[in-house]
Structures are given as C-alpha cells and as structure tokens.
C-alpha cells in the first residue's frame, strides 16, 4: 500500500490449495485445488453448502489446520506481510512468524458467538491480550484502545463492558465484541466465517451493517464465508462457489449470482427462497428445482375450505416461573405466550414467525401437549382438549405430530429407522401385526421419497436431509391431521431445504394435512404458507394471509423483520442502517404483567395489534 504497484498486486494469492485430513490411503482431501486472489479493500465471499471445504480453507490461511488434524497437501498462499516485511508463503512460515501474522494482519471471526469468547475472562482482558501481544500496549493503553473499538461496533456502555464477562452479553453483543477484537489491531484481512448464521435476522442485519461500515472505514479486505446467498449478495465484491471440496465457479458478485455458468451454481440459486418472489400470488408454490422428480404443476394449489377449523387456539397463555430469594418464591415469570389465538383449517399451512424468545416454539409445544398452559382453550375438530381427563387427552396427541429442528438429535441412534418410524403407530395401537408394520414402514419411506428397503438401516447412515425426511415419515405414521414443524428445515442446506419444503407441500396436497410451520426464516414462509402469524414477546402482533402480511405489513415489528432479510439482488447494497437495539426479554417481575394487545382488523382476515400510543 506504500506504493502504487503494491496496490495492484493482490494482498493474498491462493493457488491450487489442497488440504487433507488423516494419513496414507485413508486420507480425505477436504480442499482440492482452490485458487483465488484477494485484492485490497475488497470482499471475497466463499459460498458453499456444509462440507464444501469453505471453513477449512480459511483455517488453512491462518495455519490453524494442524490443531484439527489436517495439513496442507499442496499449493501456496502468498501474502504481503508488513510485519515480516516481505511477501511470504503462509504455508512456509515458522510457527513463530505465523503468530505475528495471526490476529495482527489476518484476523478471524467465527460462527458461534456464544462459544467464541472464553467464559472465565472479562471482555477487556480478552481484547487487551491481543493488543498487548501485537502492539505492545500497556494495560491502561490496551484498555483505552479496546474501549475505542467497542464504541466503534456501537456497543453501548463500552467502558462497563470491559469488565463484563461473556455470559452477561447476548449473542449479538458477543459477535460485536468478536468483531471489535478481530479489528483492534487493524488487520489487513478479516476472515468472517458465517458470522451471522447463529443470530436472529434483525441482529444479523445490524452485524452485517457494522462489518460493511468498518471495512469501508478501515479499508480492510474481507473473506466472507457463508451458505446464505442473500447475505453474500449484500456483502461480496467477488464470489467463489465451492462444492464437495472443489471450486466450482468464481467471478464478480453480479456475474456469478445473476448469470451463473456452472450447473451447480444455477441449482443452488434456484433453491434459494427469495423474499418478494411470490408477490401477487395467493397460494403456496413449490420450488422449481432443476432435475427434480415432479414438476411444480403436478401439485394443484387447492383453495382452503374455511368452514370448519382443524384446530382452534383461544387465549393460550404459557408462563414459566423463575424462583429466587430466601424462600425461593416466584419472583419473575417468563411470559412465553400471552393470550395467543388462531385457527388452522384443513389443508392449510399457518406460519408462526418470530425471533428467538418470541414464544413461537412454546406455542407449538403446548399444542402438542408437551407443555402445560396457564390458561386458554384448545379445540381440536371442535372438541375442547384441555378440559378432558388426562387419559383422553393423550389420545389426541396422535392427531398432532411434531417435527423438530435437529434431525440428528431426534432419531434414536441405536434403533433402525424402521423401528423408529413405526414406534408412534405401535404406541397408539394403530398397527398390530408384524406384517402390517412392515408394510406401513415401506409405505412411509416411499411417501417421503426414500427407498423402502432402507428400513433396516440406522440413522447415521443417512444425510441430514434424509433424516429430516425420516422425521416427517415418523410424524405421518399416525395419520395425523396436523403437523407442527418447528424450524424443521432451518438446519438444512439450501438445496436440501428446498426439497424438504417441496415434500411437505406435496404431502399436504395428497393428504389434506394442516401445518403449523414455526420458523424465523421469512423467505421460506413466503413459499410454504397460506397464512402468517407474527409473534413478538409472546403475543401475536399481526396475522393474516401470506399476501396480506408480506405485501402490506402493518405492524412495525413485521416491517422490521421483513426489511432485515438479506435480499438476493447482486450489486445492490442496503444503505439504510438497520434499527439498533436488542430483542427485549419476556421476563417480567411478578405483578408486572404485559398489557394485552388487541388485534384490529385492517382488512378481511388481516389483523394487527393496536399500537399503544
């Protein structure tokens, strides 16, 4: 950067980088022949699904692979280092030299803000450590500088934060601390590995804005690793697409995202739900996946019959007591759900959207009777469930089935999938003979698009997407009329997610299933739902048809949620800074109950919480 020629040669040249794990013939090549250039003050996004090798590439640059058991098998990484005063191949540096580069000239932010900070040291001490190491600052100077950078990432009360411990901070705040810590030595390269994946969408918007803003101020080059095409489109100048450890396509962000050449990139982009893509339509629509087994038209969009609801929820209230004090009396309550009311009709998908802590999962669990309500009524096909004796209530559990977010944790690893699938049917006495069970398992597997002869396999033999299909098959075993899908597609890669969403819609069309689709992902909601309910702090603040809520959002929170979703529109950068502030907590002192919201009709079937003025 000192002369003009330097700024023309890229800051970092990666050529034919290969990484292997393990030794000998069993060695796995997890990065295979990756090349890219990173220029000054540019952002390169490395995009790919899980297992594509994108994170490993970034760890290779920092020379941290050996701690994971990997090693660089070939290629070079040329970096213009000021500290070492020469252009170096990062792979050839001694550990001592590497340590001068790490955290100083190349810094990194990791995906999980909740575990990235050491729980036993204060924020000030963790930031000061870096500053003392690379800049030789004294304790008080390091503190001062740390505070400056905490201010820079717009953390309120930076001075007090220096003496706080990580557990006293929310996830969004921790990620800001990580950014401040990574940038405090003014690195030439910032590597951000899925920095917002674990965060709520409104918090994600804030974090992305901070990274963009500071990059412009400090003229840092950024390597941004992500699976989210929307985020990439908002952040990147250049894009490298990776799949199964190999580079697939590279180029400018506009070129790659608007006119993808490689078939894989095209597929990936087709699977990305784009918010706004459904404008003007009234019914849900399948993803158009190239090469999929059925065409979108084969699933007819039937209008929903709204004469008789499957499920009616009325004034459902769920609270959790928090005890404290000498006699461990209830001092606070978490108001997880406050007077929530809605209906679901046969063959309809109602999406329950909101951010963490909004109470959406609590509502789902209460409907499944995994959680007892404080008050409220639930009618299933007109029958009041909560007033029934406990034994009769149990029988209704089979009518609703739950699909959880984590397909790895929700199948018993020691049971064959056949046994897992048939278990609910056995519990509820729907299957009596062995032959019947076998037929039923085969039938269920075929329904979710898996071969019938996989019944004898164990869960670890399936991929994440296949496991989620198995969970759906298990939910179908009792012929339920309602399936509660709690973030059921959130943990899946985007191409797999599109397939599972399509499967859900297809099953709905075939069997007239109703779904309560609980999620934070507005873009998926737009695809799958007939109606949408937005939850905020335990209350529904807006409910209406998908078209009403998406095309004419009324409540400020709905608007905020929609505007925070990253838009896949390459070349267009959001300029307006997102709203600041954390998501407030639903915990309140006893006696300090939240004011109940009243929903006001704005049009037919579209209700919005009245604003307290």
């Amino acid at each position: 950067m000192t002369d003009t020629t330097a700024s023309k040669t890229p800051l970092l040249c990666v050529r034919d980088l290969s990484v292997t794990f393990g030794d000998g013939p069993s060695a796995a090549r997890v990065v295979d022949g990756v090349s890219f250039d990173l220029a000054h003050n540019r952002t390169l996004a490395i995009v790919g699904e899980s297992g594509s090798g994108k994170s490993i590439t970034s760890l290779a640059i920092l020379g941290l692979l050996k701690h994971l058991g990997g090693r660089i098998a070939g290629g070079e990484m040329l970096f213009q280092s000021d500290v070492l005063g020469r252009r170096v191949n990062l792979d050839q540096l001694t550990e001592n030299e590497l340590r001068q580069v790490r955290g100083n000239e190349i810094a990194m932010i990791f995906q999980e803000p909740m575990t990235s900070l050491n729980p036993v040291y204060t924020i000030g001490s963790q930031m000061g450590e870096t500053l003392a190491l690379h800049q030789g600052l004294s304790r008080s100077n390091a503190r001062q500088k740390a505070q400056e950078f905490l201010d820079l990432v717009r953390l309120p009360n930076a001075k007090r934060l220096l003496d706080s411990y990580p557990h006293q901070l929310s996830g969004g705040m921790r990620q800001r601390v990580m950014i401040a810590m990574a940038l405090c030595c003014q690195p030439k390269i910032l590597i951000a590995d899925e920095p917002t994946t674990a965060l709520d969408v409104t918090i994600q918007a804030q974090i992305l804005h901070i990274i963009r803003d500071l990059q412009a101020k400090m003229r840092t080059s950024v390597i941004f690793i992500s699976h989210d095409m929307g985020v990439v489109s908002e952040m990147a100048d250049d894009v490298l697409v990776m799949k199964a450890s190999k580079p697939i396509e590279a180029g400018g962000v506009k070129e790659v995202l608007s006119h993808p050449k490689a078939p894989y990139t095209q597929e990936l982009l087709a699977a990305v739900p784009r918010i706004g893509s459904m404008t003007g339509t009234t019914m849900p629509k399948l993803f158009d996946i190239p090469g999929q087994e059925f065409a979108p038209e084969t699933v007819p969009a039937k209008p929903v019959d709204r004469s008789k609801p499957v499920l009616e929820i009325e004034d459902l209230t769920v609270r959790f007591d928090i005890r404290g004090g000498l006699l461990s009396r209830v001092t606070h309550r978490v108001h997880a759900a406050e007077k929530v009311s809605f209906n679901i009709y046969p063959g309809e998908t109602l999406a329950l959207v909101g951010e963490s802590g909004s109470g959406k999962s609590t509502v789902g669990k209460t409907i499944q009777q995994l959680q007892d309500p404080v008050s409220g009524a639930m009618r299933f096909h007109g029958q009041d469930i909560f007033s029934l004796p406990a034994d009769d209530r149990k029988a209704f559990r089979k009518q609703t089935q739950y699909v959880f977010q984590d397909p790895y944790g929700s199948l018993n690893p020691r049971k064959t999938v056949g046994d897992s699938l048939i278990e609910p049917a056995l519990v509820h006495g729907l299957v009596t003979s062995k032959a019947e069970a076998k037929d039923k398992i085969a039938d269920l597997l075929v329904k979710v698009g898996l071969p019938a002869d996989h019944a004898g396999r164990y869960p670890h033999q399936f991929s994440g997407g296949q496991r989620q299909r198995l969970c759906i098959a298990r939910a179908l075993a009792c012929d339920p009329s309602l399936i509660i899908a709690d973030e059921a597609v959130s943990a899946l890669d985007v191409s797999v997610q599109a397939q599972v969403v399509n499967l859900l819609m297809q099953l709905q069309a075939e069997q007239g299933l109703s779904y309560l689709f609980i999620t934070h992902d507005m873009a998926v909601v737009e695809r799958i739902s007939h109606r949408v309910a937005v939850m905020y702090l335990g209350q529904i603040v807006e409910i209406g048809s998908r078209q009403q809520v998406f095309e004419n959002p009324q409540h400020p929170y709905t608007k905020r949620l929609l505007s925070a979703v990253p838009v896949l529109n390459p070349g267009v950068r959001p300029t307006r800074p997102p709203l600041e502030g954390e998501i407030p907590s639903g915990m309140r002192a006893v006696g300090n109950e939240p004011a109940p919201v009243t929903l006001k009709a704005v049009s037919d079937g579209h209700f919005v919480a009245e604003q307290a003025s």
Binding site: R99, E112, N118, V120, Y121, E129, Y165
Partner: protein
C-alpha cells in the same frame, strides 16, 4: 449476602453429617466388644465385680443415649475429654492432626504436580505413543493396592538401597515415601481426569479463537484452556479428598506415621470409644470443610458460578 447464606447452609449440613457419622460409629464400635474385658484380658484373676467397677469408672454403665449425649456435649464445648487409656484426647489429636494434614497436603501436591503436566501432554498428543504410555501407566497405578505400593517402596528404597527412612516422623525425609505412595495412587486417576477435561476444553471454539489471535501455545493451553478445565478438576479433587483420607489410614499404618489414621486404628483395637468418636468426627468435619472450600473456589475460577 448470598455467600454467607451459602456458607451457613453448608455449615448446617456439616453438623448433620457429623451427627450421622458419629452416631453410626458410636453404635458400631459398641457392637464389637467390651473394653472392660479387653483391658483385663491379660490378667487371670478378674472377677465380675472388677469388670463392673471398670465399666462404672469409664461411664459404660450408662445407657447408650446418655453416653452419646455426653460426647456431643463435650464436642460443643470443645472438650473432647479423656481417652480410656491414654489421657487427654485433645493432646493426642494435637499431634496426630497436623501430621495427617502434612501428609495429605504433600500427597495431593505430588499428585497435582505430576498429573496436570502429564494429563495436558496426553491430551495434546492424543493417540500418540506418549499418550498411550501414560494411559497404560495410569491403569497400572489404578490396579495397585496402596499398602502394597508402600511396602514395595520400603523394600526398595529403605532396605535394598537404604536412601530413605522406612518409618517415623522425625525428619522431613520420612515424609517422602508415604506421600509418594498416596500421591502416585491419586495420580493414576487424576491424570485421566486432566486428560479428558483438557481434550474437551481444547476443542472449544474459544481455544481456536485464542490461537487465531496469535497467542503462544503456552498461553492458549495454560491460560485459556486449563482454567476452564480446572472447574471439573477441582470438583473431582474435592470428592477425592474422602478417598484420600481412607487411603491415609492404611498408609500411615504401613509407615508407622503418627497421624489420625494410626490413632483411629489403635482406638478401634483397644475399643477406646471416646478417642475413636473424636478422631472420626474430626475427619468427617475435615472432609465437609474441604468440599465447602471447593464450592467457594468455583466462584473464583468461573464467573458464571459467582453468586449474583
């Protein structure tokens, strides 16, 4: 202040534990034989009247609950009374307790000094040759009875090569063999614990972050990882203290170490009820106190556990 409340709770707990332990010991020892008969076993001309007089003198003619209440009364007023045969119990314990504590601290110290570096080394070289050797040695250590190891040390280092004294208390060198015996037995389990805990913390994200900051490996391991692993290690050491006391009793006997263990065993042999009750009570209070200290140390190590 919640910390004081916490200590109060635990002190109450300690009282209950002491009551339960002493009651059990007092009952059990009375089932094993009559001290009056034991005392007079050697002489042949003992009449029934003599025995009754002895029992009266020792207070054994009173019902059990009265004897036990007497003992409790003494405990509350810090007056441990007299042994049946050996005079003031307080005097006996004032010699035995410090020597046991010295031995306990020395063996715990030896174990920590060996197991922490070895455990960390094994964790860092997981699956390597040194890791495997450490694991095998720890298994070997686990399978030794402590008295056997003690006797082997005596045979080797006091008799075959007379470097260290086999017994006694007079010189510091006498401490080495008993402390080494218990220390090595404790190390066998501790090294495995340190290894497992370090493996867990070393794979935590914040350790990778610390490395990405450019910190030296030393700082990553000893500053960032070890302090997090320490929470579980300290818990275990606290629980281990009970076992340590059990081990001490046997090893003290092997090395003729004038500690609480030796004192307890002598008291059992002579059916010296007051002395036995006193030693057991003090050992029980010690174990409870160590566990209380461990709970308080948590707060120092981990800010998340600090009472808010």
């Amino acid at each position: 202040m919640p910390v004081f409340r916490f200590i109060l709770q635990r002190a109450l707990q300690a009282v209950l534990v002491t009551l339960a332990v002493t009651l059990f010991v007092a009952l059990a020892v009375r089932l094993t034989g009559d001290p009056a008969v034991m005392m007079t076993a050697e002489s042949s001309s003992v009449t029934e009247e003599d025995l009754i007089r002895i029992r009266e003198a020792l207070g054994l003619n009173q019902p059990f609950y009265a004897q036990y209440l007497d003992f409790l009364k003494g405990l509350i007023t810090f007056d441990l009374g007299n042994s049946f045969f050996r005079g003031s119990i307080a005097d006996l314990i004032s010699i035995a307790l410090p020597s046991t504590l010295i031995l306990a601290v020395a063996s715990m110290g030896i174990s920590i000094l060996i197991s922490i570096p070895l455990g960390i080394h094994a964790a860092l070289h997981k699956g390597g040759i040194s890791d495997q050797i450490i694991r095998v040695l720890s298994l070997v250590g686990l399978s030794f009875p402590n008295f056997w190891l003690g006797i082997m040390f005596v045979l080797l280092l006091s008799i075959t090569f007379p470097i260290l004294p086999a017994s006694g208390f007079e010189t510091w060198s006498a401490l080495i063999l008993p402390a080494l015996t218990i220390g090595i037995i404790l190390t066998a389990t501790n090294v495995r614990l340190v290894r497992t805990q370090m493996l867990e913390t070393l794979s935590a994200q914040y350790v990778m972050v610390a490395r990405a900051k450019g910190l030296s490996e030393w700082s990553v391991i000893y500053k960032h990882a070890l302090r997090n692993a320490a929470i579980a290690i300290v818990t275990f050491l606290g629980l281990q203290f009970g076992n340590l006391i059990g081990g001490l009793v046997v090893v003290e006997l092997v090395f003729n170490w004038p500690g609480m263990g030796t004192l307890s065993i002598e008291a059992i042999a002579q059916r010296d009820y007051p002395l036995l009750q006193a030693t057991v009570t003090i050992l029980a209070i010690m174990i409870v106190a160590v566990n209380l200290a461990v709970d308080l140390v948590y707060g120092l190590i981990d800010p998340r556990i600090r009472v808010a």
